[in-house]
Amino acid sequence: MSETTKNVVEVKNLCKYFPIKAGLFGRVVGHVHAVENVSFAIKRGTTMGLVGESGCGKTTIGKTILNLTQKTSGEVIFNEDTQLDKLSHKEMQAFRPKIQIIFQDPYSSLSPRLPVGEIIGEAVREHGLVPEDELDAYVTRIMKACGLHEYQKDRYPHEFSGGQRQRICIARAIALNPDFIVCDEPVSALDVSIQAQIINLLEDLQKEFNLTYLFISHDLSVVQHISDTIGVMYLGNMVEFADKEEIFANPLHPYTQALFSAIPVPDPTVKMNRIILEGNIPSPSNPPSGCKFHTRCRNCKGVCKEKAPRTMEVKEGHFVACHIYDPESGYENE
């Protein structure tokens, strides 16, 4: 029973800055603050959704967690004891199968020169997960679980449609029997009816293999459908984090409220109370002072421009970073 409540991933104060280089010698002139002070945890067998506009650092979080890009500071802890950056090269290789990623674009994330059976089986053989003589049967089983047919094993990726390719990507990730999968916008490039097929497949596989997902998407309705907890990002910060039911019933941060109200609802009788955000996202290389959202916030007061808000736990499991909900910020007094 304790297995189910354990955290598969725990992220503490994760930061990732990208240097901006200029001049002949590549002098560092500044940093893009892609991810700043992000903390969250994902329990085994659950899905965490990460939403936000483009450029807010969602993908960077996914990549930094998997150590595909080096983090600047902070901690990422797997299975409550493993930290990737502390592992040796050999230990890292042994750990890799446990963490997998599904990319957004199924057209560019599959090698055009390998047949599908090889794409799925290559890593399995490399890690020696199944004996060589059982590999073929194993690949067939994985393909069937992902809705692919055995005769497609010898085909090449260009012979498949977008939805089928995404199935191949999923099969490739599942084949290594991972604990944790980062799904980086897996359905954004697909049509609505194909989207539904892939989402259902991801849910089925989660039940079957007890998988844990970090589901990154800008499509709120998809995230709402698949996630158990949701984190909302803005310009590198996590502004709100809560259970799905809680955050949709009771969005607290002004940005979350605006984001949720901006989703078009396919029902012409619904008249939306839309909160239209003015302006654009500020540049992450030169973020605004104080609360990063204050340039577009309708509840902005003096304190918001000066002091960055702390992350408060307003309700059990509901975190929000906004001065409005912080009694010590002095927001109320202004």
Partner: protein
């Protein structure tokens, strides 16, 4: 060997391909000749609107692509109307022909492979009406950008990166109004930039596209579509490349502008939410055909075609929890070998016996709500419903 050949449907030998391309050249050359004629009398493409309240009437439009592996019927008998001052939303999955329909109206289909082979597109100019399908290139140039204008999907690629915003806007105006002085043209451009909600119009006028954000660029593209006071604006996925909050801004802008300029909008998108919010009429397309059309509330609250129903159920909706999303089984049929029965039959879970017969004609649910599905065939009325 023989077995292999049978399995690989869609693959053809080089010899077959050569034969097809030879025939294609013959067909497309005839179309090209007709289009490139000079000094065509106006009477040849003059026509009358069926209903003067409409700005555009698509009537049984067929646009084919003559490719080397066969003819792709991208638009295969599409009919619908765009009334004056209304927004018509066209929805469907990628490859269903929604963009090709609008491109046919602009005569922007990739030539010479793509050709409008049959049907009429009647364009209402107020005092007269033209049939766009018959118009030669020469006459079309006066219509394009002037009477019909277009907002493209990618604001990044639809602006020229080497020219200033102002130059690109001025070009549109001076091309269609050669009598205007440069000062008037500039004033008009700046007015258009202000109209789309950009405060610093003078500043933006002198900037290059790369200096603007995605949302700003899309505003400029919209301004460019507005400068000649068009009667119809075609918006081809205007918000797909934008973020949700920017999308909300652009949709709000389009709604406000529509009430100011009295133009009709043809909104093409795959997002049902955007359609529900913007459109007065909805046209649902599947595999090059219109499967359902009607008023927005008719189609959304009472969808009849199994494809429309499936499309709506497969999209997760905020604040509506389902355990499992409905997914339409199978995939769109190969556009080169379309079946002769209903195109949706192989994916449909609600087939009736009649579905094995010919492609269903249009059946009226109400006066405005029309569905192409045999499930709504009424024996008594029979063929009388067919228009």
């Amino acid at each position: 060997m023989k077995k292999d050949k049978k399995k690989s449907v869609g693959y053809i030998s080089a010899r077959e391909s050569r034969k097809i391309s030879k025939e294609n050249i013959k067909i497309t050359r005839a179309f090209e000749k007709k289009r490139e004629r000079k000094n065509v009398p106006e009477s040849e493409y003059l026509t009358t609107m069926k209903n003067p309240e409409n700005v555009v009437e698509f009537d049984n439009l067929h646009t084919y692509f003559f490719t080397d592996i066969g003819t792709v019927k991208a638009v295969d008998g599409v009919s619908f109307d765009v009334p004056i001052g209304k927004t018509v939303g066209i929805v469907g999955e990628s490859g269903c022909g929604k963009s090709v329909t609008s491109m046919s109206l602009m005569q922007l289909v990739q030539r010479p492979t793509g050709q409008t082979v049959k049907g009429e597109m009647r364009l209402n100019l107020g005092d007269k009406a033209y049939d766009v399908a018959q118009m030669p290139l020469e006459a079309m140039q006066k219509i394009r950008g002037n009477v019909i204008s277009m907002i493209f999907q990618e604001p990044m690629t639809s602006l020229n990166p080497v020219f200033r915003i102002g130059f690109q806007l001025d070009e549109v105006i001076s091309l269609h109004n050669p009598e205007m002085t440069p000062e008037d043209v500039k004033a008009r451009s700046i007015e258009a930039i202000k109209m789309v909600g950009i405060a610093d119009a003078e500043g933006v006028y002198n900037r290059y596209p790369h200096e603007l954000s995605g949302g700003m660029r899309q505003r400029i593209v919209i301004a460019m579509a507005l400068v000649c006071n068009p009667r119809l604006i075609i918006a081809d996925e205007p918000t797909t490349a934008l973020d949700v909050t920017i999308q909300a801004q652009i949709l709000e802008l389009l709604r406000n502008l529509k009430s100011q300029i009295n133009a009709s909008i043809m909104l093409i998108t795959h997002d049902l939410g955007v359609i529900a919010e913007m459109a007065d009429y909805v046209v649902v397309m599947y595999a090059g055909r219109v499967v359902e059309k009607g008023l927005a509330h008719e189609v959304f609250l009472d969808p009849r075609h199994p494809y429309t129903i499936g499309l709506m159920e497969s999209k997760p909706v905020i604040n509506k929890t389902v355990d499992r999303l409905y997914s339409i089984p199978g995939a769109v049929p190969n556009p080169i070998n379309m079946p002769n029965y209903c195109y949706f039959r192989d994916r449909c879970e609600k087939c009736v016996e009649r579905c094995n017969g010919a492609y269903p004609h249009e059946m009226h649910i109400t006066d405005t709500h029309i569905v192409s599905c045999w499930r709504y065939f009424d024996e008594d009325k029979g063929g009388a419903q067919d228009e």
